[in-house]
Amino acid sequence: MATALKQEEPNNPNPDGAENVVVRFAGDSGDGMQLTGGQFTLSTALAGNDLATFPDFPAEIRAPQGTLFGVSAFQINFGSRAIETAGDEPDVLIAMNPAALKTNVQAVRPGGLVIADEGEFGKRNLDKAHYDSNPLEDGSLAKWQLLKLNISQLTLDAVKPFGLGNKEALRCKNMWTLGLALWMFERDREPIVQWLNSKFAKMPDIAEANIAALNAGHAYGETAEISGDGLGGGHLQHHKVAAAPAEAGTYRTVTGAESISLGLVAGARLAGLPMFFGGYPITPASAILHHLSRLKEFGVTTFQAEDEIAAITAAIGASYAGSLGITSSSGPGIALKGEAMGLAIMTELPLVIVNSQRGGPSTGLPTKTEQSDLYQAVYGRNGDAPMPVIAARSPEDAFYCAIEAVRIAVQYMTPVMLLTDGYIANAAEPWKIPDVDTLERFPVSFMTEKPEGQLLPYSRDDKLKRPWIKPGTPRLMHRIGGIEKGVDTGHIEYGPANHQTMTEIRRDKVLGVADSLPDQDIAFGNAGAKLGVVGWGSTFGPIHQAVARAGKAGKDVAHVHIRNIWPLPKNLGELLKSFDRIIVPEMNTGQLKTILRDQYLVDAKPVNKVSGQPFTIAEIVAAIEENLS
């Protein structure tokens, strides 16, 4: 969160008592772990803790039960200090079956608490998880605190009065688990009860059963004699994590997909335009289409197109007709849209393209995160086809990046790529809701009157922007298209000098966007540091924490986070050259590194991770130490 006052020190309370706890829920993809995590997140936010989450789920909707590849997990890091990552190592793991235990337990900090549903540890499930013996019995979990509970049976007992079938009754397991987790951290159950009542409004029996399971889990913590060391070294006990310091204001939790949708709506309103959103279902971008399709009252038209190409070309058509055209996808879909982006560049129409990046190439890792579409965003079109690129660093930041993308698109008559990723799209964090009156307006004006003499659709203002002329405007008929256009007139023109001039105009127009950008700031440390750590996108959290930790330990290190990937801020080269050494941690094989080397001839060194998982703070701390030695 942007209101960082203290730095995360995972697992060790600071002397001032500030602390953070990392909890991971893991179960079968049908166990409702994402739902459990989501509700625990809401309760955490309402308790005033700062937090960050990391939902991690398989690409399959309902993978075969009990399998290792079907495990779905949700990690949350919350604390009484500012939280910027989902946490390196869980302090608490709740494992709903052997497969969940096997795939997650190695991440748990030694000495951390592992709660396992022993009701699910029968031979069949153990076999599916490839366990030769029961890990709950064979001592292999000795380095953690182990708490075995028959959650399945306890849930069945709790929901018995409601007469559900065995299968339906067991579906309430996640609420029993949530109840226990709420008790562990002294949380109020009421918001969850409200949510269950509204979610199952049409099925009151199911609502009641889930509430009963929730209450039973809570009561179990309250009354049972639980042995074994828990949090804080003693018996399992409730443990309230104090509220985190934060700026005064009204807050809510928000995921990246939500905040981008809200930012796009806000951007369109600030520009004074109706919005047209063309989308085609793709993970993890679809959530944006879902959110926007419910916001008709804001002048939003959503169009689920027949394919990715129709989604972007319909958006271009809408922009041509005077709406704000927006399209959204993930890497494979963005690849399909490439030719149409060129059309928007050539016809100089405003357009926002949101790329929720995922692991690639090809289908790659649909539900896992990566930052490997940076080349695609900056370079991925035929011809010299420059396009502004902005990258969001967090769910909160994505709101403002979306507004910025809209502003650039309409102020420069250009398509703009907004990069986010699967991690930002799904992760939730507290968000200080802005006062909309403080957001700067940038109203659009269309050409409505025929100028003196000839109509010149490709004439330009001081930003090199051409006029936006809506079809339907009397007497301003003209033709545009993807063929090279004559300077000013926009007529078909293949002449060599004309193409040289027009190519340079398109380049200079986009480079000129830098005039409207703030100088590159330093997120931590100072210019001239021995080591500059340069990042972009969702790696902000772990890089910032790692640099801050190294800085506090006396290391001469600075953190630079780049939001405007293209064009780059004007002072960036000078800033980078002030560092003795530069490293660029990225979830790819070194894409920003290449651009920085190319643009500034600096010896930027790559630090790469492409496992589908975000960086841990420790990994970046290690990279800093290595590069300072």
């Binding site: 934060a246 027949e306 058509g317 922009s319 041509y320 007709a321 030719e339 059309l343 008929m477 298209g481």
Partner: protein, 343 residues
């Protein structure tokens, strides 16, 4: 088309100052003239008219119309038009495309345009060849077409544009010939239809596929080779001496002789443009055994896509204020004061 105010224009008002860049003798010239001549008759307003095209010879068309025009990318004109029309349903939208553009690279968009029934006119210039890329066979080329990419003849069976359109859900299907004097009437009927009006126009590519339609397009033999469909009129050709009837045993169309003009005795079908079953048979009539069916084959309007979208958007917004602050504050919120957080 739209319920727009009819305005007075002349052919000259629809011509641009751009030099037309088609090959001399190309059928596109005749189509361009037919359109420019028809627009004044429609009472259309150039300021409210948009011509949208894909890529290919035909797709240069918008540059020559003094209207709004968008020469887009290969195959995507229907999708662009969908965005244009959803953003401004008042515009009068014409899509200009070819056999490669609409049925090969853009086949998917053509199908979805038709099933959605966006209100527009789609003119498919079918010349059974790729002209602008210098003569490769196209998805409508007949089997055995020799071309630079098929020196031994094409082996794949051609698509039938009108059968494709009807199969995709088209509510208006018509056919014309580039140089045919009946083309303006087809255009007028297409414009009068609310919904996607699909018009296949046989267009002579003088360079790469010269006279490929000559068998039925030639004026000399036209009486015997062309069936001009008129709503409410019997399906007669060959100066009324032949007609189209339904064989009640095979449930297939067949050609019958009409003796002494008594078409009723010969059980010749009376054309009903709203009869979808007969339309399916008309688009499947193979030339040779049958004459080429021209004119409006099918015309039975249904509500349009953009009208449904506009209506749903309006209904969903009823009673809701576009309150951005309220939207941002939605869901469970909490307040932090200077003294610390509180719920």
């Amino acid at each position: 088309m739209n319920e727009m105010t009819k305005i007075t224009t002349t052919l000259k008002d629809w011509e641009t100052d751009q030099e037309v860049r088609w090959c001399p003798g190309c059928g596109d010239y005749a189509i361009l003239k037919a359109v420019q001549r028809t627009m004044p008759d429609l009472g259309a307003d150039p300021s409210n008219t948009v011509f949208i095209s894909g890529i290919g010879c035909s797709s240069r068309f918008p540059y020559y119309m003094e209207t709004y025009g968008f020469h887009t990318i290969h195959g995507r004109a229907p999708a662009i038009a969908t965005g244009v029309k959803l953003a401004n349903p008042e515009l009068d939208v014409w899509i200009i495309t070819g056999d490669g553009d609409a049925l090969s690279i853009g086949g998917n968009h053509t199908m979805h345009l038709l099933r959605r029934n966006l209100d527009c006119q789609l003119m498919l210039f079918n010349n059974e060849i790729y002209g602008l890329t210098k003569g490769q066979y196209s998805p409508t080329s007949r089997q055995g077409t020799q071309s630079p990419s098929t020196p031994y003849g094409s082996v794949d069976r051609p698509a039938s544009p009108c059968a494709f359109a009807l199969g995709a859900g088209a509510r208006f299907v018509a056919r014309g010939i580039d140089i045919h004097k009946g083309l303006p009437d087809v255009l007028k009927a297409a414009h009068a239809h609310k919904g996607t009006s699909f018009i296949e126009i046989f267009q002579n590519c003088i360079v790469y596929n010269k006279d490929v339609f000559e068998e039925f397009a030639a004026k000399k033999t036209a009486a015997d080779t062309q069936l001009h469909l008129v709503d409410g009129e019997p399906m007669l050709f060959a100066k009324g001496e032949k007609g189209i009837t339904l064989n009640r045993n095979t449930l297939q169309l067949e050609v019958v002789d009409v003796v002494d003009g008594d078409w009723e005795a010969a059980r010749v079908i009376v054309h009903d443009v709203t009869n979808r079953s007969v339309a399916h048979m008309l688009v499947e009539m193979q030339f040779g055994e049958f004459p080429m069916a021209l004119g409006v084959l099918y015309d039975d309007p249904r509500p349009t896509f953009e009208a449904a979208v506009v209506a749903q958007n309006a209904a969903a917004a009823v009673g809701k204020e576009p309150d951005l602050q309220g939207l941002l504050n939605k869901g469970q919120t909490w307040t932090v004061t200077e003294g610390g957080p509180e719920l």
